[in-house]
Symmetry: C3
Subunit: 151 residues, 3 copies
């Protein structure tokens, strides 16, 4: 157990996993910021302190809030698979330098993806940053399956 945490590849995997999970979790305060600054809430109890005539107006969707929520969901759909696949990959005994290349590329791609998504930069910026992350996860999957395959 302590053995696992003394392995350099696993320590690198641990570090980068925590970075991308923190990246994922920071979407929650960003959503809160957009909800408050745009005045667009989802729950009646969240606008309970406002004057009655304002309340109904604030229970609405706002394009900026929906954008942050799509970005958050996209993180869930990509960051969690990366951590799960990365775990098997880290256990499969890759070279440290190869592993670091995978982990760094993925972390960079997801940070870029968020910036590009929230700033609504023109395509193909978002598509590219998304695809780099997917390519890393696929490459790790291929690496693991080429060593371990029990059907």
């Amino acid at each position: 157990m302590t053995g696992l945490m003394q392995d350099e590849v696993f320590m690198a995997f641990c570090t980068y996993s925590l970075i991308v999970i923190m990246k994922l979790m920071i979407m929650a305060p960003i959503t809160a910021y957009y909800r408050i600054s745009r005045g667009a809430f989802a729950n009646a109890e969240d606008v309970g302190l406002k004057p009655i005539e304002e309340r109904k107006k604030m229970l609405r969707n706002h394009p900026d809030v929906e954008r942050v929520r799509r970005c958050h969901l996209n993180d869930l759909e990509n960051v969690i698979p990366f951590v799960l696949v990365g775990f098997f990959y880290a256990l499969s005994g890759p070279e440290l330098s190869t592993a670091l290349l995978h982990f760094r590329l993925f972390a960079a791609s997801r940070i870029c993806h968020t910036i590009v998504y929230l700033a609504a930069l023109r395509q193909p910026c978002r598509a590219l940053s998304f695809l780099v992350g997917v390519a890393v996860t696929l490459s790790m999957t291929y690496n693991v399956l080429s060593k371990v395959l029990v059907l």
Copy 2:
């Protein structure tokens, strides 16, 4: 391998992880219950046995169903990161009592969060229960990164 499952901290992590994952999965039958009792479905095939004139009316959103779905999504966004971060935390060799404090606080905060969300209790109940869970995950992340950091 059996060694990992004989470590007390890891066994506690395993128990509480399973509790919060079950808490997450119970949202599916709760959604089904609200869909049926409110008569609000998302798929045409789900209302296939109803009389034709009723079908279109039942393919709609209902605020109660949307509330359960937001609660479910919030669980995904918080419970899964807890389990992933908690795994690294459990491997990093914390004191059993400290680890149990983290795990119990998180499980309690998420159970409270669901009750508060579904009952639409006034704020800041939901915000507080949400933030306790986030604080636990951040504290575990900080603990792991202070011991393991390979960039």
Copy 3:
């Protein structure tokens, strides 16, 4: 560490986890296909190259796209818990044949679920394929908790 990857149950768990995670990730290109073929996009920058008069019309929801997205979310809600619970289950020392039965049933149920959902086959096809997956995860949870329980 290499020990874990030489254990047959763990290797089987690794293989089936990667299969269902790939199944989850393939929903992203399927969504892209439906968005393009149905002309229904969520972000203004995704239709930036179209003539101006067409742009607004393409920023809309389409029932087929929403169907794929619900299928994707349902995968997140079920595949990720399977992998997390399956990890504890694989460590808890089950018989290889019993473990393989669990893993194969789950993978089959999720592949059926996606086909049934996207083809909008009549109920209870989708409900059944969903419930088989849930039953596997519950059975693994029960197995682990009956061996490991530290509250």
